[in-house]
């Protein structure tokens, strides 16, 4: 089943300086439980694409079909430092006025499973960057979204943390079987986490290629990084991105 489907999406911005084509006939889908990564040169319209999927922007033409609710994870965790971890995690349910016992129990189970339960009475500023990003993911998952949009979720972290956190986040997402669209400029991250990688061209962004990632010997991003196929995929994507 498809959770997200884009059909021939075009986007043109009209400004005082004239028309600016940003997206050129983009079509792809995300299946249930699948992680799809989008990589592209900076300024290739990745954010525009996300904004269209999240309905902040309207496509000039084409169609976007989303099955169910969207959950977001941003570059920064955006945890509120005046709320405890627990209250931060519940903010989505609080906004939806949906804090019944069952939902809270489920959140507690998630926290226990991912070893965050001991920190629920702490304030975010007392925790490490990696832990904060995992908490931000649980905050998003608390409202049980059908598809996750991750917008450069690790780029604010230092190198070592970012590899560890992407590993943790990958396991949580796969565990919970949430369909995910990951936007990143980091090729290794895309190969490590995604089942398929979509490569976009320079502006106006065309879909250059969809690459299926199949690394049978490894199950986590960390292990995948060490595999032989990893380097090959890297070269292919690197080549596609640098092609004029």
């Amino acid at each position: 089943m498809k959770t997200l489907e884009l059909i021939n999406v075009n986007k043109t911005f009209y400004t005082e300086l004239g028309a600016l084509d940003v997206l050129d006939n983009i079509s792809f889908d995300v299946n249930e439980g699948e992680i799809v990564a989008i990589v592209g040169p900076s300024g290739s319209g990745k954010s525009t694409l996300l904004n269209i999927i999240s309905k902040l922007l309207k496509p000039t033409s084409g169609e976007v079909i989303v099955e169910g609710d969207i959950g977001y994870m941003f570059q920064h965790d955006h945890l509120f430092n005046w709320r405890t971890v627990w209250k931060n995690i519940l903010i989505g349910l609080e906004i939806k006025k949906d804090k019944d016992e069952k939902k809270r129990e489920r959140v507690k189970e998630l926290l226990t499973k991912y070893e965050l339960i001991d920190f629920i009475n702490n304030y975010p500023q007392e925790l490490s960057g990696g832990m904060r990003q995992r908490i931000a993911l649980i905050r998003t998952l608390a409202t049980s979204p059908n598809i996750l949009l991750l917008d450069e979720p690790f780029s604010a972290l230092d190198y070592q943390t970012r590899i560890n956190v992407s590993n943790d986040i990958y396991q949580i997402i796969k565990d919970q079987k949430v369909s995910t669209l990951l936007v990143t400029h980091d090729i290794s991250e895309a190969i490590g986490m995604a089942d398929r990688v979509i490569v976009l061209s320079h502006r106006p962004a065309k879909l250059k290629k969809i690459i299926e990632i199949k690394i049978d010997s490894a199950t986590t991003p960390l292990e995948k990084r060490k595999s032989q196929e990893f380097a090959q995929y890297f070269d292919v994507i690197w080549g596609l991105l640098n092609e004029q």
Partner: protein, 260 residues
């Protein structure tokens, strides 16, 4: 180790307070001496001992309470109404960008205008007494409160707002769950600034027309060349505004403790 560190820290804080008190006493002592030994004209500059004597007299007759009471009431009214009204208007501007854009030039002019120049007209319009003086106090703090609170509100990170919107938060929820709590410290700072602003309004108002109040005492003292009275007024003013500031500080500390 830790205990030692805390002890050292407390010791330093104590030392600073002692030094501050000593400095104050030294200045008062020099003033007294200069006045007594004729370095300065004691008729124009008065001297601490006479000021204190006068203050004690005012306390004994109970007259001081009437003056303090009325000025304090006007200041508190000006502070509370000015701050709340200012924050409410800032919230409306944050809520509706078009209104903010329309009012922008008016706010800028209103802020640049010396509000004390408007005080006589305001008093003529509203009437004398507590009402008129409170309005003058409000006029001084209001515009600055609107401008600063509005600026704090619109400077909250856009992505934090998007995070809440991704859970389909309403504008009211964004206001109450993010904008206000994120700016609690800033709003307390606005209150601190408004204490001073309200006192300016009250004293100016009392200078223009009044029968009681600390501003009245100071103006009356100047008119009859009773410098002891003027200095006493200023002294009382200094003590009360310091105390008000400290009360807000205490509230702030309580809130911070609760939050962290």
């Amino acid at each position: 180790m830790n205990n030692n560190f805390l002890k050292q820290k407390r010791k330093l804080a104590f030392k600073i307070i002692i030094s501050q008190i000593c400095l104050l006493l030294l200045l008062l002592f020099l003033w007294e001496l200069a006045s007594r030994w004729g370095w300065i004209d004691s008729f124009l500059f008065s001297k601490p001992s006479s000021v204190i004597k006068l203050l004690i007299n005012y306390f004994k007759t109970g007259e001081i309470f009437k003056h303090i009471g009325i000025s304090l009431l006007e200041t508190m009214l000006g502070l509370i109404i000015g701050t709340i009204l200012g924050i409410v208007i800032a919230t409306i501007l944050w809520w509706n960008n078009t209104i903010a854009k329309i009012l922008d030039p008016f706010l800028i002019v209103g802020n640049a205008l010396p509000k004390t120049a408007l005080a006589p007209i305001l008093i003529i319009w509203v009437g004398t007494g507590i009402k008129g003086i409170t309005v003058v106090a409000i006029s001084i703090s209001l515009i600055l409160t609107i401008i600063s609170a509005y600026n704090y509100f619109i400077n909250v990170e856009v992505e934090k707002i998007r995070m809440l919107q991704s859970f389909k938060a309403t504008k009211w929820q964004i206001l109450t769950k993010l904008i206000i709590p994120a700016n609690l410290g800033n709003l307390i700072n606005i209150i601190k600034i408004n204490i001073g602003m309200s006192w300016v309004g009250v004293i100016v108002g009392e200078f223009i027309v009044s029968k009681y109040g600390i501003g009245y005492l100071i103006l009356y003292g100047t008119q009859v060349f009773n410098m002891e009275l003027v200095m006493m007024g200023v002294l009382v003013l200094a003590i009360i505004s310091f105390l008000m500031y400290e009360v807000v500080n205490l509230i702030e500390k309580k809130i911070r403790k609760k939050r962290n």
